[in-house]
């Protein structure tokens, strides 16, 4: 009996890891955009939802999950670029509240448009056959597709880290997040850096959406709850800290996963209680420096 529950617990830890991975992808996009542009993208959840729907459309038309997995985030990222150029750019220089308000309106529009196109009833996405079934991890069986999600998240995070740390564009992004005025004075086009970062951030939201699709299905409201939870991840992680977003995303994934296992009734609430405790003990978040970027 104890062995069975231990195996179930281990499986739950893996489930928490999958959830944490989705949180991390969303939170890192939010953090990246916020750290650089002081723009809180409220439509992040709506773009996550579009990632899942684009994935569905690509999957049904091409029959290839790989194509869907690659193209859906690119399409969402392209849409993100258009949003930055057309809607966010006119708001630079105004209060940081304004882009938040604007993207809130945008999220209403996107969710309702999705409802018009794909209907009110959710759609199911099938994982590719190669990723169906379960893998024996020695102590428990675990769905192959979920292991795949963990792997993809890890690879993408590694790639993002290498991009930010080892490439010239990455250097420029880091510099612009620290001191945009100086970067501009050195002759670089900060507007273009923002443009690129918005595309990357929204693309990551699209990736989270297509990855979540086969587990949760695609439905118009799927981004609403998760965007609020991702805000919590960002707040807990600390101001503009990418490492904070990763650690806090994984941590909250575990907290939610384990609470679902032990006290299912508290599963929806625990995220917020956890946030309140962190705010009490470390108001600026786990990895935040007080006063930075606020």
């Amino acid at each position: 009996m104890p062995e069975i529950s231990l195996a179930a617990l281990a499986a739950q830890v893996f489930t928490g890891l999958v959830l944490g991975g989705i949180f991390v992808l969303l939170a890192i996009g939010l953090s990246l955009i916020f750290g650089l542009m002081t723009v809180v993208n409220f439509s992040h959840g709506a773009l996550y939802m579009l990632g899942a729907y684009f994935g569905y459309v690509l999957l049904t038309h091409t029959g290839s999950f790989t194509v869907a997995l690659v193209l859906a985030p690119l399409l969402v990222g392209a849409l993100g670029l258009a949003v930055e150029r057309v809607l966010i750019r006119p708001l630079y220089g105004r209060s940081p509240d304004d882009p938040l308000l604007l993207t809130f309106g945008l999220s209403l529009v996107v969710v309702e448009t999705a409802r018009l196109i794909w209907g009110k009833i959710g759609l199911t996405l099938d994982p590719p056959r190669a990723l169906g079934g379960a893998v024996n991890l020695g102590f428990t069986y675990f769905p192959t597709y979920r292991l795949f999600v963990i792997a993809v998240t890890a690879v993408v995070l590694l790639a993002l880290w290498l991009f930010l740390e080892k490439t010239n564009v990455g250097l420029l992004i880091r510099a612009a997040s620290r001191d945009p005025l100086m970067v501009r004075a050195l002759g670089f086009d900060v507007g273009r850096v923002w443009f690129i970062v918005f595309g990357i951030g929204t693309g990551l939201a699209g990736l989270a959406g297509i990855l979540a699709g086969p587990m949760r299905g695609a439905y118009a409201e799927m981004g609403v709850t998760i965007i609020i939870e991702s805000f919590v991840v960002v707040v807990v992680g600390g101001t503009g800290s990418l490492v904070g977003a990763v650690v806090s995303g994984l941590l909250i994934g575990q907290v939610v996963g384990l609470t679902t296992f032990f006290v299912p009734k508290l599963a929806e609430i625990i995220v917020f209680i956890f946030m309140a405790v962190v705010l009490l003990l470390r108001p600026s978040g786990l990895f935040g420096e007080a006063g930075l970027l606020e």
């Binding site: 809607l87 209060s95 509240d97 938040l100 209403l108 529009v109 709850t225 946030m275 108001p283």
Partner: protein
């Protein structure tokens, strides 16, 4: 139009009473007038925090919902027979909620504040959802019997919608007068100083975290009164009262009317509700329409209708 607007600006409280005394007789049906009044008060509470103190809250539904459930539970579950006691229960719930959540949300500045208010409102939504014994959960809280207004030597039943409208008008009018009083006080001036430049206000020696917290609680009080009145109007409290979309609604209303303007919230609530009525009769996609309208306002008309009309440029920076 602008002459009327100018007169209303000079005599805000009197202007409010005059306009809203006539209001139900010029709109197509009276229940719309009551809604404008109550949602206007809700937006007024939100506007105190956003428009005047510069704190953007995405969690106003929490205090609206606390007011509604406080009054609703007092009447439906605790079988309170006094209207004043039931209203008091709603206000107390909203004020306590505002004090506690305000404490947490104000631990982070700037844009994080907006995320935190949203998160705490969501917490309350799930709590309301799961405490079905008290709140009715998904089905909403039903069985609210509205007692008559009892004043010394006077007993007025509220079962007729016109009577209820004027009852609500008196309470909302008192709230409007109270807000005017708050804004004209030294405290109100400091609020606006915090909105303009919180660092400078702090440097002037004001305890800005205490003042922000107080503003948060006052805002919760107004939102809570609005929620209480809505519970009496509907005689049911739907779980959507605590939903994030309710917080979003009041943000939209206030910005349509004009944030940081005294009557913007009422103008915005009226515009929103009339538009919703017209659009919903033709299409199901109301959120699409209001989303586009709202985006257009943020981009092109950030002062809102009333702010543009009166040339008042007190929109938060």
């Amino acid at each position: 139009m602008s002459a009327v607007a100018a007169w209303v600006r000079r005599h805000p409280v009197l202007g409010f009473f005059v306009v809203f005394a006539i209001f139900p007789w010029v709109v197509p049906y009276k229940s719309l007038a009551t809604q404008v009044l109550i949602y206007g008060l809700f937006a007024l509470g939100f506007n105190l925090l956003y428009g005047y103190t510069g704190l953007l809250s995405f969690g106003a539904a929490a205090y609206w919902g606390l007011g509604a459930y406080g009054t609703g539970i007092a009447l439906a579950k605790l079988k309170v027979t006094s209207l004043w006691l039931a209203l008091g229960a709603g206000l107390a719930a909203a004020v306590v909620g505002g004090a506690v959540f305000g404490f947490f949300c104000l631990r982070r500045r700037g844009i994080y504040f907006a995320m935190l208010t949203l998160a705490f409102a969501q917490l309350l939504y799930f709590v309301g959802f799961h405490l079905a014994d008290w709140t009715g959960g998904d089905d909403g809280l039903r069985g609210i019997a509205v007692p008559a207004v009892v004043l010394p030597g006077l007993r007025i039943p509220l079962d007729r919608s016109v009577v209820f409208y004027y009852f609500a008008l008196v309470l909302v009018g008192l709230a409007v007068a109270a807000l005017r009083r708050i804004l004209d006080s030294p405290f109100g001036t400091v609020l606006q100083a915090i909105r303009e430049n919180s660092d400078r206000a702090a440097a002037c020696g004001y305890d800005i975290s205490r003042i922000k917290h107080l503003s948060f609680v006052f805002s919760a009080l107004f939102c809570g009164l609005a929620g209480s009145l809505d519970a009496l109007r509907l005689t049911v409290v739907p779980i959507e009262s605590l939903h994030w979309s309710t917080s979003g609604q009041v943000v939209i209303m206030t910005l349509l009317g004009g944030a940081g303007t005294f009557f913007g919230p009422f103008v915005g609530a009226g515009t929103f509700l009339v538009l919703e009525d017209l659009v919903s009769a033709r299409t199901e996609s109301w959120p699409l329409v209001i989303g586009l309208v709202f985006m257009a306002f943020v981009l092109f008309l950030p002062k809102g209708i009333w702010g543009t009309l009166t040339g008042n440029s007190a929109a938060p920076k």
